[in-house]
């Protein structure tokens, strides 16, 4: 099957850049540097273009041009331009106004929701009832099933974990007796938490690696004229030449 030329070219570019990035695992080299700089530049450029065509033009420019009565749109534009005043030390003070407005607005809008979502709701989630009823069998029947008991154990473990981890960060109380024991238990919970987070992060990195391998395998197919294989060969050849030249 013949691929559209842009897909074919895209496959060669993607395979080449992936291999250039992987070459860092061997040693730092100019091919890695090229790919790294291209990545940073292309990401930023793409983000800028998307922001321009998805937000700035349809949400600001078009309404302003189509209906001149939308004069209020000039206010955010003016404030946005003031941000650039920070580039010069003499006019930097003008940049404080839009920043102050942004901070005030964001804090005002966010704080009530933040407290409700991240404090009240989660404290409520931490304190689970240990006695669970079975509503389908009448409100007086206590759930003593394995699942119910397991849920009770989880609820207790969560409560102990939260309390002891908080105790670990009580620096104003002398660490002796029960506070010391709670603090040590809290540290154990923290260690388990860090270990689990690290394990999950590694799993995520493996997924990224697998995704690159899948793409390299696809670009190594005859439809792409074996782009991955050809480019890997070229890259290895170039790295060998570079190394030989450095030794000479």
């Amino acid at each position: 099957m013949t691929l559209p030329w842009e897909q074919f070219l895209g496959g060669w570019v993607a395979a080449g850049l992936t291999l250039c990035i992987f070459s860092f695992l061997y040693e730092d080299n100019p091919f890695y540097k090229i790919a790294e700089h291209l990545y940073v530049g292309a990401s930023l450029g793409y983000l800028l273009v998307q922001a321009l065509f998805q937000t700035l033009i349809p949400r600001w420019w078009e309404p302003l041009v189509q209906d001149p009565h939308h004069w209020e749109l000039l206010v955010p534009a003016g404030l946005g331009i003031l941000l650039f005043c920070r580039l010069s030390p003499r006019t930097a003070w003008l940049g404080r106004w839009p920043i102050a407005l942004l901070m005030g607005y964001t804090a005002g809008v966010t704080v009530p929701y933040l407290v409700a979502s991240q404090v009240f709701q989660q404290v409520q989630g931490t304190i689970q009832p240990l006695v669970r009823m079975k509503p389908e069998q009448g409100l007086s029947v206590v759930d003593l099933s394995t699942a119910g008991l397991w849920a009770d154990f989880s609820a207790l473990l969560l409560l102990v974990g939260v309390v002891t981890v908080l105790a670990h960060f009580f620096f104003t109380v002398e660490r002796k007796g029960p506070v010391k024991a709670a603090s040590r238990l809290g540290m154990l919970f923290l260690m388990v938490g860090f270990g689990a987070s690290y394990g999950l992060a590694v799993q995520g990195r493996f997924a990224l690696l697998y995704d690159r391998f899948v793409d390299l395998k696809e670009f190594g197919m005859p439809s792409y004229r074996h782009a991955s294989v050809v480019l890997a060969g070229l890259l290895v050849g170039c790295l060998v030449v570079l190394r030989l030249r450095r030794r000479a």
């Binding site: 695992l25 937000t55 809008v109 979502s117 989630g125 999950l200 995520g204 997924a207 697998y210």
Partner: protein
């Protein structure tokens, strides 16, 4: 063992199942993935769900399989899917994923009828809050440039309150937490999320607090979802490589510790 040898070994171990897949047994479905699947399964045909793609190509390895599994399920259940993104640099990828899922769906799926690509906007909390008041004010036209008023399903969908479920697939902020705070909690709309493995621990408290009814975690979560929908997707195929990679890493950590212990004794 030198680090180059470890990299080479890891590459070989992860490449092997791609050539000879052998499917590790024992993948079980976690309750939070099951909950999301059950919610979508039990929604009536024609119900509205919003899927927010809050990631860019940097994390597509984990979030694309999740998105595909959820979209395929929603299309199969004949739900009306509204798609948007809070990360503008992921919008091109989002359109490709959604249209590809629609093109390969078992039932005929049509843009503008079964799914609507709203677009991508900067301004995280303003987008969520604005959608709660008027969707057409935030996204006046869809990705094809058609005014929302001319798209039949959107004549009945005015605000977020008309949604039966919001699913945010996110790798950070703005993402699931933004949606929980400014949409789920505010308007009492059922919410679920999909996230990367590294971000799961940050979202787990929201499941515990009942703010997220379901949470899909990384490629493993996507594989679990594929298992529930009985589809052989990219996440299921990737689990062999991930499992072997994890085994290799555990083996190397153990080996290094034993070696250290022996050196200490001698």
């Amino acid at each position: 063992m030198g680090r180059r040898r470890i990299f080479l070994l890891l590459a070989l171990v992860m490449w092997l199942p791609m050539v000879h897949p052998f499917r590790f047994p024992g993948l079980s479905v976690t309750s939070s993935v099951q909950a999301l699947h059950d919610r979508i399964e039990n929604l009536p045909s024609g119900a509205n769900i919003l899927v927010s793609f809050d990631f860019n190509p940097g994390t597509k390895a984990e979030l694309e399989p999740q998105a595909r599994a959820i979209l395929r399920h929603a299309f199969k259940r004949r739900l009306t899917v509204l798609v948007l993104g809070l990360w503008p640099d992921g919008w091109g990828m989002t359109q490709r994923i959604v249209r590809d899922c629609a093109a390969t769906a078992k039932l005929p799926v049509k843009e503008g009828r079964d799914f609507i690509l709203l677009g991508s906007q900067l301004g995280d909390l303003n987008v969520s809050l604005g959608l709660g008041q008027d969707i057409a004010a935030v996204f006046p036209r869809d990705a094809r440039g058609i005014p929302l008023a001319d798209i039949p399903p959107l004549r009945h969908i005015r605000t977020l309150k008309d949604m039966h479920l919001i699913v945010s697939l996110g790798a950070g902020e703005p993402g699931p937490v933004t949606w929980v705070m400014f949409a789920g909690d505010r308007y009492r709309i059922p919410m679920a999320a999909g996230t990367t493995s590294g971000n799961v621990s940050a979202l787990q408290p929201y499941v515990q607090g009942g703010q997220l009814l379901g949470l899909v975690s990384g490629m493993k979560g996507a594989a679990e979802y594929e298992m529930l929908t009985k589809e052989d997707g990219s996440a299921t195929r990737g689990m062999d490589s991930l499992t072997l990679g994890a085994f290799l890493l555990i083996g190397l950590v153990l080996l290094a510790n034993v070696n250290d212990w022996r050196k200490g004794r001698s």
